[in-house]
């Protein structure tokens, strides 16, 4: 495996992230918006869910949101790299494209985990107690979820010829995936036809896992969540590498 290439792709994305404050700011602004404005607004009408109030209930969901937005955005940067030429510089180098795809995967997951961890600063405000060892479990869980999501993003980026399709992706894939993952409301109250979609959505198991770690409540056993996420990540990363290898640039 070409670790130096993976490292370079990873390092480059991190440097770009650090130099570009807007992503950091919006990653802090977005949870405030959802958690405090939407959350506080809806709290009275939801009442208690499995012993937690609404803002507490959606807190793991907000972390999942940070993961999905950051992951997809990171992967989509491949399209920018293509449009602005840098991708050619990498692809003409004597390195396997698999290493390039994996580098993107690691970079996107690293940034996602960082953004997700950042959300934890809001935990005391919504009164979600976090033990330090929970953070240690949370990080690999977030990494697992992110890796799969970046994989989805890479597949999209390799299939998409321009970034004009970006809005379409957000509306038809990212938002539905987020809403139908049980992040914002309990699955049990959904009509059964929607439940089917929710069960197919891999992010559902990610949200369930996060909620299990943070609040101790869940719909599925933790082992099932992890299994499904592992299998899904594996399949997605393999297909991402496949599609990325196949494209002509």
């Amino acid at each position: 495996m070409d670790w130096s290439t993976i490292y370079m792709i990873w390092l480059r994305d991190l440097i770009r992230y650090v130099r570009q404050r807007s992503r950091l700011y919006s990653s802090i602004a977005r949870p405030i918006l959802w958690l405090f404005i939407l959350g506080s607004g809806l709290r009275p009408s939801f009442g208690a869910i499995q012993g937690f109030d609404y803002t507490q209930f959606i807190f793991p969901g907000i972390i999942a949101m940070a993961l999905i937005f950051t992951s997809i955005q990171s992967a989509i940067s491949i399209i920018w790299d293509r449009e602005f030429g840098f991708l050619k510089e990498i692809l003409v180098a004597p390195v396997p494209r698999t290493a390039v795809a994996l580098g993107k995967g690691f970079a996107g997951s690293t940034l996602s985990v960082f953004q997700g961890t950042l959300i934890l600063i809001f935990a005391p405000i919504v009164k979600v107690p976090i033990a330090w060892y929970n953070v240690l479990i949370l990080i690999p869980a977030m990494f697992l979820i992110s890796f799969a999501l970046v994989g989805i993003g890479i597949i999209i980026a390799s299939r998409m010829t321009s970034f004009e399709g970006f809005g379409t992706i957000m509306n038809f894939l990212v938002m539905p995936m987020f809403f139908l993952s049980g992040a914002m409301f309990p699955i049990s109250r959904l009509p059964s036809w929607l439940k089917v979609v929710v069960y197919i959505n891999p992010l559902t198991y990610g949200v369930d896992l996060l909620r299990n770690i943070l609040l101790g409540i869940s719909n599925f056993p933790i082992a099932l969540d992890c299994c499904i996420l592992l299998v899904f990540s594996f399949v997605v990363i393999l297909s991402a590498v496949f599609f990325f290898n196949r494209g002509e640039y």
Partner: protein
């Protein structure tokens, strides 16, 4: 160093490159000259293993482009037609990342980076973000980057496109220096006629086919004699008389009447003495590659307007700040 046999590539049924064959010797400066859309970039992309040829074969430094892509990539450096730097990184970072993916040994990295920066006179800008560079500086940095891993063959796709004449000259200076000091082989494309004269040999390419391949001198010899330009009070009458008296094909445009004539200098005194009407101005010049292209294709190589995609890209680049 480069060998190409019947290389071709089609896009949706249209042949962008339609069976080109040529060879380039070690240490040679070889030029591809042709108008926009002639197939120059497509040829380079095939040689660099970025796209698959539809038919034909090619070898770079002895390696088969189809069967040994990794070895081919290791042997070549490329300066793309469109910018390919990461403008959010500094010059140094761009070079360092290139060194990493090309596996330049760690202890050599700094020395080599310093050397290529020195050669392109960019030492002073080493730690500046590339987005604040001028077009010429970016181009120089790309050349520096292309040389960093010491390739055997350097491809340059329109290396001076869009640069002012002064910067163009400077880039040519680097390229000549490079050829003098290293044994590197240069393959470049251009649609600037005057620039092609810097090459050892030129392939003239039009509609995906090579229509002539020779040294600039030999190509210019294809145009018989010199180009004589004449101005008179009545160019219409003069055009007729010149054609009848000297049996030459006379072309007329806003700058006067032009025709080919053997030993132009000796012809002028005769012309001035014999001609029936007063001549207001006359000049003789050696043929240029422009004249050759005109003769070969019946068209002039002209600067075409930017395609829609280029225009879109420029617009995006302008709003690129929001990335």
């Amino acid at each position: 160093m480069i060998k190409v046999e019947d290389l071709a590539r089609s896009f949706n049924g249209l042949w962008a490159v339609d069976g080109v064959s040529f060879g380039v010797k070690e240490g040679e400066i070889f030029g591809f000259l042709g108008p926009n859309g002639a197939g120059k970039t497509t040829t380079i992309r095939m040689l660099c293993t970025l796209i698959q040829p539809s038919r034909g074969q090619a070898w770079i430094a002895g390696y088969d482009v189809l069967k040994q892509p990794t070895e081919v990539r290791r042997s070549l450096g490329i300066i793309f037609q469109d910018p390919s730097l990461d403008d959010r990184l500094t010059a140094y970072e761009n070079l360092k990342f290139h060194a990493i993916i090309y596996k330049v040994p760690r202890r050599e990295r700094k020395m080599r980076i310093d050397r290529v920066l020195g050669m392109t006179e960019l030492q002073g800008r080493r730690n500046d973000l590339v987005r604040y560079f001028s077009g010429g500086m970016k181009r120089r940095l790309e050349i520096a980057r292309g040389l960093l891993h010491e390739p055997k063959v350097l491809f340059l796709d329109e290396p001076t496109l869009g640069l002012d004449p002064q910067t163009r000259n400077r880039i040519w200076q680097y390229l000549h220096d490079l050829r003098r000091t290293k044994k590197i082989t240069l393959f470049l494309t251009t649609h600037y006629m005057d620039e092609a004269e810097n090459c050892d040999r030129i392939a003239v390419i039009d509609y995906g086919k090579i229509i002539a391949l020779d040294t600039p001198e030999n190509l210019k010899r294809m145009v018989k004699g010199d180009i004589v330009t004449v101005h008179t009070q009545d160019d219409t009458l003069a055009q007729k008389e010149l054609g009848e008296r000297y049996r030459v094909v006379v072309k007329r445009d806003s700058s006067g009447l032009h025709f080919e004539m053997d030993k132009g200098e000796e012809f002028i005194p005769k012309l001035v003495k014999d001609f029936s009407m007063p001549i207001t101005a006359v000049s003789v010049r050696r043929p240029t590659l422009d004249d050759v292209f005109l003769k070969l294709t019946g068209r002039e190589i002209r600067e075409e307007t930017a395609s829609d995609k280029d225009r879109l890209r420029q617009r995006v680049r302008r709003i690129g700040g929001m990335r």
